[in-house]
Symmetry: C2
Subunit: 461 residues, 2 copies
Amino acid sequence: MFETLFKPQSIAVVGASRNPGKIGYTILMNLKMTGFNGKIFPVNRNESEILGLKCYPSLSDIGEKVDIAVLALPVKYIPELVSECKDIGTGYVIIISGGFSETGGAGKEMEEQLARIIYGSGTRIIGPNTVGVYFPYNRVNTALTPPDRVLFPPEGKIAFISQSGALGLLAMDSISEYGVGISAFINLGNMIDLNDLELLDYFGKDEKTGSVVVYIESVSSGKLFFEKIREINRIKPVVVLKSGRTQSSAMAASLHTGAMATNDAILNGALLQAGATRAYDETELLDYGRVLAYSKPLRGKNIAVVTTAGGIGVITSDYISSKHHGIGLSLARLKESTKDAIKKIIVPFGSAENPIDLTADGSTSDYKKILPILLDDPGVDGIIIYALPQTPKMDVSIVDVIQEYANGIKPLVVGVIGSKMGRDIIIELERRKIPAFPSIQRTVKAVKVLYDYGTYMKRRL
Amino acid sequence: MFETLFKPQSIAVVGASRNPGKIGYTILMNLKMTGFNGKIFPVNRNESEILGLKCYPSLSDIGEKVDIAVLALPVKYIPELVSECKDIGTGYVIIISGGFSETGGAGKEMEEQLARIIYGSGTRIIGPNTVGVYFPYNRVNTALTPPDRVLFPPEGKIAFISQSGALGLLAMDSISEYGVGISAFINLGNMIDLNDLELLDYFGKDEKTGSVVVYIESVSSGKLFFEKIREINRIKPVVVLKSGRTQSSAMAASLHTGAMATNDAILNGALLQAGATRAYDETELLDYGRVLAYSKPLRGKNIAVVTTAGGIGVITSDYISSKHHGIGLSLARLKESTKDAIKKIIVPFGSAENPIDLTADGSTSDYKKILPILLDDPGVDGIIIYALPQTPKMDVSIVDVIQEYANGIKPLVVGVIGSKMGRDIIIELERRKIPAFPSIQRTVKAVKVLYDYGTYMKRRL
């Protein structure tokens, strides 16, 4: 299923251009820069060569199999081009052009026309009104944003399905900063053919994918969508960001991707029942996808915190145990023997009470001794570890220590505050698929998501 | 007041060391690297020279005026050193050493002893258990974190008073990533002498300071503290992050800085009455401080949104208008004439309804035309502008357009999603003191803070 889409041998770009201001230039550039190693066919009636690639006057002139055709021409040319794609047996047509149902009735009719054209054929449509796809494992990138402006994430474990293209590209740019990777990105756009249900199915089985994150403005087919999420969420976690929660923003969504409004309370109930994790913005979407892809779920609500900065331990404790401005879980109560063992490791003015504060004297080797002690305490269900660069006796090698204990049944979530050495620590943790976040709030919220998913998994057993 | 502290002519570092593993080395290094251009006196009985500076066997041997003495020696030496500071007429003694009241009774007694020593003299104590101060305008930096690990922020408008040193250093490291500046940072530590009230007074009058942000674990003197905040908050906004909100975390705070628990509901009421903005973590503390330092308060609750990415507009609208996972303000309803004027500027499939979506076709010059139209609409109280790097026709020059309209009565808050060109845009906006945030949630929360401050200011008139 979808073999030709995810591992294409050839991609045609219709509307390819020499002009760096044109989308047809950028797509070609992105394909090259990302290192796609299949065949690339630029199509442009007026050029014989673009970016060193032979250019064809039309799709039919290529005379070879085209797995994916990217259409970057104005809307009026699209029906004829889609017909041509069908005729030459193109597997997937990515329609970049906007101007369809998001603009009203005439556009809606044109979408129906496109659906009729491909009906019964082997040709599938992605979009219209899409930036297309980005598959790092197979170096496929049809994004329309110049590579000198945004970063594309490396290979990773999050599958990202997005109804909105720009949101997807910008969210990917943001996470790339910390080296966070994805397994695939697909922008569904107006979703007249290829849809979220099929992709959920695919990623549910995809071995490279550890979690699926979905940004939607409309639910394609209510009941089926939630049933599918429920089914996939049992195999691997699904995170959903559904926007258009209020009346006014739902109207905005309908103007954006022609989305239909859904009652938000009903949606929330359906997601809850499906056990899906709900996100409310781009940061949450990918933070939650990441922690769920990397960590086992929490089996209880008792969290231990280890820090070398007391203030950060106190604020974290506030967030853990408060319901208001917090996640409403519990600070683990440590056994006396646990505290005694920790006291022997830390300086006298540190704290062996949870949150455990090693003070600025804390070292990588202290963490190495303390982590197994905490993991052994039956009162501890999971640990928030702060890896803070202000402590002279700690450096990036803390990552090795954390990795040693990261794959047990009790989740470890790492918080890193700071930008200089802090960034290096997060990037290195990310490389080893250990969830790490650059703020207290994001760290604690990630823990809540592991708890909710764990609770759901227990309930359904 | 505090002239010698903020603009010292000379600083002695007692416990200065040649050993890069020692705090006495790092402090000296930070002073040099930050470019302090007064006199620096290392004090160490066993050295004649450190880092190219003449070293003195004792404070008394310096034989010159010492404005600030930084004590980086174990706790047992501190009383004698403080006496010596008093005897030579040192203005401010920064006691880095921990091991005082945060460790229990004996430490508490020693603090009382120190207070007695300086009683009636002109010598003041900062700390103990402090990392000291960082004053970018006068290049004073007594931080104990090596400069190869963390960044220090440039000159800016936020005065940062922190009870916790590590939290302060790490939060400053984080904001430095985007070039966010501060006017001063002081870590009060156990606060046995120099206190938050005095500093609030000072920063209230300080011309370089546009807002004061305070991290505290305990309130020094209840009623007085809130009265002072109320007084200063009328002159310039005060943001307070008070941790130890729950019983368990309050205990952690007492172990950290010897803080006394405060009932959180009472605290919240007192802050509300004082009109202070409350933050719940390090990110909020400095985001709120920044937006309040740079922007006029909001005079109404109707927010317009301009974006080139529809999805980001929809999520923003959700956050603006929802009470649950949102700030509970309103999307501005635009006049028909406003919408008509915008329609003439944007592409046909864009949206002239709020949130205004220019689509990927949106350009810097579109923003230049649309901003004055929106600002003219009486239904608009403030604008969230997205400056998004995925749009080919927009680049860092968007900053010039935003700046043109940034100083009017209606606040502009900028959201930037992305890491590559996105970061450059934020840094450039920051340089011009225009509030910009790297996520939807942080952008919208900043708007809420401007609304609350505006509401408070109206009420007290």
